[in-house]
C-alpha cells in the first residue's frame, strides 16, 4: 500500500523522541539547579536563599559546569608519562617508532645499572606534532619507563611547543594509561581517579635475576 511508509517513519521518530540523548556535551554542559546543588554539595534551599541571582541564572541556563568524556583506561592520549629514573637510555623506543620522531642523546653514566653498561639520559624529545599515537614505543620499552598518557587536551598555538622534552615530561602530571601495561590492570589502577604514587611499583616489570641474564646473554650464545 502506498503511503504506509510515512506513519511508520513517524513512529521511529517518536521512539527516538523519548530516548535518552547520546550526545555528550563537551567541554561544558548546562545543568539544572538540582544537579548544580548536587555537584557543589549544597542544600538546594540554602543555595536558593543565599544566592538568589545565581539560582536564577542557573534556572535560565546561563551557568555551565565543566564536563568530561568517558574514556577507556587503555586510551592512547597525547601526553606521555615518563619515569626518568627507570630509563636506561637504550633507545628501543626510538628504534621502534615508525616515524622516527623520538630523539635520544645519552652520555656514559656513573651509576650502577641493572645489566651491562649504564648510560645517562641527556636529551629525550618526542615530536608529538607528528606522532600518530600507535603506542609502539611504549610496547618496546623494556623497563616500563615510558607510558601512554590518558590526557588528550594538549594543544598549543605554536608548532614548536609540540616537541615535548625531558624536563616537561618530568614536570607534567602523571596519569599513565594501561596500554600495554597489564600490571596496571592487575592492580586495578584507575588513571582517572587514583594517584600513581600509590601504584608506583606496579609500573615496573619484575627485575631479572643476574643468573637468568647470564644464561640468556652469555651461556646460550
Amino acid at each position: 500500500m502506498i503511503g504506509k511508509g510515512i506513519p511508520r517513519g513517524f513512529i521511529i521518530t517518536l521512539k527516538n523522541f523519548f530516548r535518552t540523548p547520546v550526545t555528550v556535551q563537551y567541554p561544558d554542559r548546562k545543568v539544572s539547579i538540582f544537579e548544580y546543588a548536587k555537584i557543589k554539595k549544597k542544600n538546594i534551599f540554602k543555595l536558593f536563599f543565599s544566592q538568589p541571582m545565581l539560582s536564577l541564572k542557573i534556572s535560565l541556563g546561563l551557568i555551565s559546569v565543566p564536563s568530561s568524556v568517558e574514556q577507556s583506561q587503555r586510551f592512547r592520549g597525547n601526553e606521555f608519562t615518563f619515569f626518568e629514573e627507570r630509563c636506561t637510555a637504550c633507545a628501543s623506543c626510538a628504534k621502534y617508532c615508525p616515524l622516527g620522531i623520538i630523539e635520544i642523546v645519552s652520555v656514559p653514566g656513573g651509576f650502577d645499572a641493572q645489566e651491562g653498561e649504564s648510560y645517562k639520559l641527556d636529551v629525550f624529545d618526542i615530536d608529538i606534532g607528528r606522532c600518530m599515537f600507535c603506542g609502539l614505543c611504549v610496547e618496546a620499552c623494556p623497563y616500563d619507563a615510558l607510558h601512554m598518557g590518558t590526557k588528550f587536551e594538549k594543544s598549543t598555538y605554536v608548532r614548536d611547543n609540540l616537541i615535548i622534552t625531558k624536563e616537561e615530561l618530568a614536570k607534567s602530571e602523571k596519569s599513565p594509561s594501561s596500554f600495554y601495561r597489564p600490571q596496571f590492570e592487575k592492580e586495578k589502577f584507575d588513571p582517572f581517579k587514583d594517584n600513581i604514587k600509590d601504584h608506583y611499583k606496579a609500573g615496573r616489570h619484575e627485575k631479572p635475576e643476574y643468573k637468568d641474564l647470564k644464561k640468556k646473554w652469555v651461556d646460550d650464545r
Binding site: G9, R76, P98, F133, C134, E185
Partner: protein
Amino acid sequence: MSLETRPVTVNLGPQHPSTHGVFRMRVTFDGEEIIDVEPIFGYLHRGSEKLAEERTYSQIVTLTDRMDYVSSMLNNQAYILAVEKLCNIVPSPRGVWLRMIASELQRIASHFVATGFLLQDLGALGTPLIYCMRERENILDLFEMLCGARITNSYLRPGGVFMDAPDVFWPALSRSLGDIEKSIDEIEDYLSGNEIIFSRTKGTAVLSSESLVNASITGPMLRASGVDWDLRHRNPYDYYSEITFKRILHTASDNYARYWVRVQEMRESLKIISQCIKNIEPGPVRPSFDDVPRLVRPEPGDSYAAIEGSKGELGFYLVSDGGISPYRMHVRAPSLINLTLLREMLVGELFGDLFVIFGSVDLNMGEVDR
C-alpha cells in the same frame, strides 16, 4: 524550427561532499541522462606501498590502518595473515579468536557506514546517517576498551594481538550485541519496506553476474548478483572453518540487492561473534618473544594472504629479500577493483542516481589511492 541539443561535460569533484572522499569524475550528460563517465583518481595517494619498503614488519601495521580508515581491523588482519604466512608463524589460539571478534565487529561498523551514506546519497539528509553512526559508536567504544584507539587501532601483531581484552570488555560486548541486533531490526523496519527506497534503488545499475566475475569484483556487490563467493567459506583463514554461518545471496544485482546483502551480513557477523565468544579459551594472546621476536627477519620469498573484507577480497602480497623490511608490498584493494565497472553501471542512468550508484559500490578513497 528544430531545437538543437548538445551533450554537456561536467566536472564532479574532487572536493565534492558526495564522492566519499576526493574522487573526480568527468561526466557527459545528454539532458539528464549520463552518456559517458571518466573517473580520475589519485588525489589521496600517500604512497603506503612505497613507505612500507623502509619500515619493519611490525611498523607496517600502523600504515595499514590508514588505508581503509573505516575498517582498519580488517586491514590489520589481512596484513598480519600475510606476515604469518611469510615467516611461518603459528599464532596463539586466543589471539586468533580475539582478532576474529574484532574484525567481525569492524565489518558491522563498516556496513553501518555504507548503509548510512547510501541513504544520505538518496537524499535522506542527516537522520538515517546519524542513526547508523550512533550504532557504530558502540563498536568504536569497544575498540577503545580493547586497544585504546577508535579508528586507527593497530591492535594486531604477528601471532595474535598485543594485549588481552580487559575484564570490562566481555560484559560490554554481550550488551552491545543485543543493542546492535535491535538497531538492525529498526533499520530494516523503516528502510527495507520503504517505498521511496524501493522506487529509487530497485532496478537501477543492474549488472550481470558474468560481467562482475570478469571484472573480478568481489564482496557484497558480487553476492548481490547470486554468485556464492565468500572467502570465509571458500578459503577459510583463521578459525572460520570451525564456525557456521549463512551466506547471504540475492539475485537482483541492483542497488537494493547490494544494500540488502549488507544489512543481512551484519546479522551473520553478530552470530559469528557469539560463536567466537563460546569457543574462546584462556591462554596467551601472542607467542613469546623467543618464538616471534619484535624484529622478524623472514627467509627470502613471497606470500599472499587474502581475507573477506567489508568491501571484498582484501589481499596483501609481500616479497621478502631476507631483510628486516619487505622488498615490495602490494595491496589488492577491493575498493579500487570494484570501481572497474563504474562506467557500465552509470551509462544510461539519470543524474539523480549518479551518487546513489556510486555509493552502492561502498568505496573508500583511502583504499582506492593508498
